[in-house]
Symmetry: C2
Subunit: 239 residues, 2 copies
DNA sequence: CGCCTCATTGACCTAGTTCAATTTGGGTGG
DNA sequence: CCACCCAAATTGAACTAGGTCAATGAGGCG
């Protein structure tokens, strides 16, 4: 819910009670989108932004041949299309992978929020820039990392992102994607994803079964994936 | 120079004379970085942002094995690290490919600019979101497009971006990269880039010689690359 | 129980890599 | 103007990561 977002923001910038109240007052009712539905359609003009309260979603683009490229996974606390506020229309779609409970923020409410508290502009801008940073790290994966390293890196990313919103259980977390979904994100076929998962299992780094990632050895996995969490901007900045 | 930036902004949002003057007043002297120099180093804390006035630069990350992944090319009129304003430190480096003339904007000047004219927040935010959109399209390239299509798509992108800042000459433009640079951007080896360039030449789509891209047939090239310029957000939005 | 999606595996194929040699062309010093 | 140099481009031959195709297995659920 919205408290996840507030907690995420507060990890970086202290918010006054008044500011928190202001945020809460701007959210409207939650809407549930069923698994598989397209919540934001590429090219559409958009007048509100969706905060993901519960579920798993992804950004993707569809090609002419029907294939799709997933560009990011979104979990609870992610403002999935906040960038539609400055962009006004999105260049990609946002799809619910599981059922997703979403909270709507009208763009004009975001505008008034920023007018009343100009700090919010930088806080919200910051959140969208983290997505861009994630995109860049994925470019490194798709351009320079092969097979097992690429999958391992994604598992590390989703682990850290899930952990900050309290969605991990030790070294385990729920990641309800199919192997085909992983392939669409990482630029592999589902067959190859399957083989790579076996390799990670055999190396005792991580397993992926029943929609759940189990990291056997976090340090070894991060070393293997050359994972550095800096790009997720999870530590507090000294403003 | 800064007029390129102003022209770019005005393509989307009208600026008053006062606003233009305000922008000009915030820029400081231009600095020239020689080809090959790193203008912004990954991880550094940053207190100003650089506008590229002349030259070619790129964003990239360096891996442990010394390889680098280029994530975007930057041309005149691009605010290369505006996102360091909300992020405070960058997750990647910015390198001059040719000699680059840069204009510095102190972050506290950007803050005061926004305070005086809150519209600037959205204008500047918008500019950084276009970079994110470009990242996403590159993810599609690296994840889903092969060989010639990937190179062709980049040539289309750089053509459109160069054209809006007046850097094209008909269907030709200066793109001073080596084939190895192209490889580092597209996830190929320089050998394979060379072969793909030959293919594009033989198909009469485009040539790349003497640091210059010559598009033989724009329509055919865009069709071949499945290029849709929407992601560059070059048309005016009706605010 | 039966169906349907997803996971798994094998056999074969291909886009892109690797390694290494050769060529080209612009720049520079004499 | 020429000789030389060096980075970049080009090409061939052999190799491999990942793709394709196709069959089989396994779990969840109406």
């Amino acid at each position: 819910m919205i408290e996840t977002l507030i907690a995420k923001i507060q990890q970086r910038s202290a918010l006054s009670e008044e500011e928190k109240e202001l945020l809460r007052s701007r959210m409207t009712e939650a809407v549930v989108y069923p698994a598989g539905s397209v919540m934001v359609t590429e090219g559409e003009r958009i007048r509100y932004s969706l905060l993901l309260a519960e579920g798993l979603a992804c950004r993707s683009k569809y090609m002419v041949d029907g294939a799709r490229q997933i560009m990011e996974f979104e979990i609870a606390g992610d403002f999935v299309d906040l960038h539609s506020y400055p962009l006004e229309r999105l260049d990609h779609s946002i799809t619910a992978i599981t059922d997703c409970r979403m909270i709507k923020f009208q763009h004009h409410d975001i505008s008034s929020l920023i007018e009343q508290h100009p700090r919010f502009a930088r806080i919200l801008w910051f959140m969208t820039m983290v997505d861009a940073s994630i995109h860049r790290e994925w470019l490194v994966s798709l351009g320079s990392r092969s097979g097992a390293h690429r999958v391992a890196h994604l598992f590390c990313e989703m682990f850290h992102r899930s952990r900050v919103v309290g969605l991990t259980d030790g070294l385990t977390y729920h990641f309800p994607v199919t192997q085909a979904d992983l392939g669409e994100a990482l630029g592999f076929t589902s067959v190859h994803v399957n083989r790579v998962l076996r390799e990670l299992r055999e190396r005792n780094l991580a397993t992926f079964q029943a929609k759940r990632v189990r990291i056997q050895n976090l340090e070894a996995l991060e070393e293997f994936a050359q994972f550095d969490p800096g790009y997720l901007y999870l530590q507090r900045n000294e403003h």
